[in-house]
Amino acid sequence: MNRRANARALVVGIGGLGCPAALALARAGVGTIGLCDDDIVERSNLHRQILFGDSDVGKSKLAAAVRSLGEAFPSLLLKTHETRLSPERAMDLVGQYDIVLEGTDNFATKFLTADACALAAVPVVHASAVRWIGTVLAVGARCRPCYRCVFEDAPTDGVPNCAEAGVMGPVVGVVAAIQVDLALALIDARDVTGAFVSFDGRTDAFRRHTFASRRDCALCGVAARIRCIDASTYASLPCET
């Protein structure tokens, strides 16, 4: 438990995944939790963003999350970063933490988080959920294998990838639980990398696929091309809604 009490975890995206993830981290005894988001609470969020209630609509997500978590866990050290994870700040921000949990709703931030964590040698657990489907994968501090070993680059067309596509509330709860389970394993120094877990909320079926480092991976391959954070790489990407 000392590892957890001493651990500093950054949650990027305080939405349907980030809310239950932060709550589960706190309940698991993680001592310091950073929250990164710049959004406000909307009524349409409430069915799945479980740190927020009716009275939070229109307020900053971070302020509402701090109130909610602070009341339940008075000894928890909460740090807030009321900003989107930007290319300019990403390396500095993730470098302040021992582990990152990424649950954002856009590919630009997913790849930025993956790259920044790899370059800063910070473990990261990525999670996503759209409609009934969720996916989770963990990447260790050595960054091999990494997110780009599974998904080489962001989609350029034809893939639903934004919050507007809709997501089922219970699905994000399940997916965030897996995300935190993997994060706690990494904090506890257990190797859970190299597996990609998917969950289908329509059938309640989990699937676990293994993956290895790709030799030609741009981030962790033998001739990796990504050596620094280049803002132009993370320009807004199109989505189908």
Binding site: S128, A163, F196, H209, T210
Partner: protein, 90 residues
């Protein structure tokens, strides 16, 4: 050989909502060709002129075909193909 292919939510508009379909072929590539015949448009969602699209994973069982023999990966009796695209949301 007939193989079960698991279809992710984003592609079910092409399979009439089915989350599993069958495809015939001795390799992954042949199975995808058969999928295209039965569900036109699906091939373009999975492949480009270089092979499997960079944001899509195709698994045979638990193994990513990138780490097997790509589209030439031989299918055996009982194999199942899973298609897992990148998604972002939460």
């Amino acid at each position: 050989m007939e193989t079960i292919v698991r279809i992710p939510t984003p592609l079910r508009t092409l399979t009439g909502g089915a989350d599993e379909v069958s495809a015939t072929g001795g390799t992954v590539g042949e199975a995808i060709d058969d999928l295209e015949r039965k569900h036109p448009g699906i091939r373009d969602r999975l492949l480009d002129d270089k092979g499997v699209r960079r944001f899509v994973n195709i698994y045979v069982g638990e193994e990513d075909v990138r780490f097997l023999d790509g589209l030439k990966t031989v299918l055996r009796q009982g194999d199942q193909i899973s298609i897992v695209p990148a998604i972002a949301g939460g």
